[in-house]
């Protein structure tokens, strides 16, 4: 509800655990990979996504309906969690969910850049973050990037965006703006975390996420061989890289792979790294980082049952479910076989 008062992990964890039970398991995924888009929609209608499918069914159809229903459900569930939690628990959860605010800001900026239709932008937003409806509406009504920056003036994105806007005006590319949003999000993510044991574990998880993001960015840069300064994409806060080491490693793919294999994540990411070397497939590496995060999240949720960690564990599992169903639906639309789709899913 808000960051005041004492935190109430008992209540939130009880509700979240009940919801976790209704997430799809292996069995459901196996069924879903053998269905067409309309059957998937019908299957979802009979599960916890029923209300969302019904609300959007008249306006959209096919894979779009599935996608928007997933986004809507995700936003509602995460909004609920923020509604329930109080005190320091709210702060810890909001840190992570602000990534949807960052996503929304980037979507709106891109929409303003391409002069997209307001309703088209609106359907792509995921209203799961901290921004209330009023601010989202004002963001949607902003018809230029300048206006978007103005709406965000009093948020954490205000100052960085203002600075990046000057750069954008010179170069007319969106990269500085998007980087500014991402960096504002990651800076807030890890600053001033408290000291008790569950919070430290949460911090370790967040650091792993930052590390993986840095690793994926560096791998992409190293593989593309493009002449971009890797340090510009560096995200602070992780354990694995420093700005200097990332810039050095991103020049040589083999060094980078070796460095990651020798790190504390080597055990979890080892098979994916070998695959990366052999088949040159970055997708497998991205899936491996996702699976490692999810497995870590699962473990996280059981060690300290009454703390923020089970909530984060649920948030991760839910995000993963939404992405899996989206992958199934999109894969079906593109005519992939059930086996190919299954290799795209991240299930622990």
């Amino acid at each position: 509800m808000s960051a005041v008062g004492s935190s109430n992990p008992e209540y939130v964890v009880a509700r979240v655990r009940a919801r976790r039970g209704s997430l799809y398991g292996d069995e459901e995924y196996r069924k879903l990979t053998r269905m067409g888009p309309s059957e998937i929609a019908r299957f979802m209608e009979e599960s916890s996504y029923g209300a969302d499918i019904n609300a959007l069914g008249s306006r959209h159809g096919g894979v779009d309906l599935i996608e928007y229903a997933l986004n809507r459900n995700l936003a509602e569930q995460f909004d609920d969690i923020l509604d329930w939690s109080e005190g320091s628990l709210y702060d810890l959860i909001a840190r992570y969910l602000r990534k949807f605010d960052a996503w929304n800001v980037k979507t709106v900026i891109r929409g303003a850049y391409t002069d997209a239709d307001q309703s088209a932008i609106e359907t792509d937003l995921i209203r799961a973050g901290e921004f209330d409806d009023r601010r989202v509406r004002r963001l949607l009504e902003a018809d230029s990037i300048d206006a978007v920056v103005e709406v965000l003036e009093d948020t954490i994105y205000g100052d960085p965006l203002r600075e990046a806007y000057a750069e954008y005006e010179e170069t007319d590319v969106l990269v500085p703006l998007e980087n500014a949003v991402d960096r504002a999000f990651y800076e807030r993510l890890l600053s001033g975390l408290g000291g008790d044991e569950p919070t430290r574990q949460y911090e370790a998880f967040l650091k792993a996420e930052v590390d993986f993001r840095n690793a994926i960015n560096a791998l992409r840069l190293a593989r593309s061989g493009a002449d971009i300064d890797p340090a510009a994409y560096f995200i602070e806060g992780g354990d694995l890289f420093t700005r200097g080491s990332l810039a050095r490693l991103a020049r040589n793919l083999d060094d980078l792979v070796e460095y990651i294999a020798d790190s504390q994540y080597g055990e979890e990411l080892g098979p994916a790294l070998r695959e990366l070397e052999e088949a040159d497939s970055l997708i497998a590496f991205e899936h491996a980082t996702d699976a490692a995060l999810l497995a870590y999240g699962d473990r996280l949720g059981t060690i300290h049952p009454v703390s923020v960690t089970p909530v984060i564990s649920y948030i991760l599992a839910k995000e993963r479910e939404v992405e899996n169903i989206r992958a199934i639906a999109r894969g079906k639309e593109a005519g992939l076989s059930a086996d190919e789709i299954e290799s795209e899913l991240v299930i622990t």
């Binding site: 008992e10 009880a14 655990r17 009940a18 919801r19 009454v306």
Partner: protein, 83 residues
């Protein structure tokens, strides 16, 4: 509450610095046990309400689990009859 503690302190002081009056000690034992039970029920209660909000069938289980720590107070009451 404060006055009661003051009273208790006076009683303790008059009795020579320690809590020697058996009745006062028993009262203190029950009171502390009740405080502990209340604290335990706070967490269980909010978790039970959370679970009930998701699934109504959990009402009976939630109720039982919520009042379980009450047994501490009942056991502490035994002390009152012993002294």
């Amino acid at each position: 509450m404060l006055e009661a503690t003051n009273e208790l302190g006076n009683v303790a002081l008059q009795a020579g610095g320690t809590l020697t009056d058996a009745n006062a000690a028993a009262a203190l034992a029950v009171g502390l046990a009740a405080l502990g039970a209340g604290y335990a029920e706070r967490g269980i209660g909010s978790a039970a309400v959370g679970a009930m909000a998701e699934d109504d069938d959990l009402f009976v289980n939630g109720l039982i689990l919520t009042v379980l720590p009450e047994t501490i107070v009942i056991l502490a009451l035994v002390v009152v009859f012993i002294v």
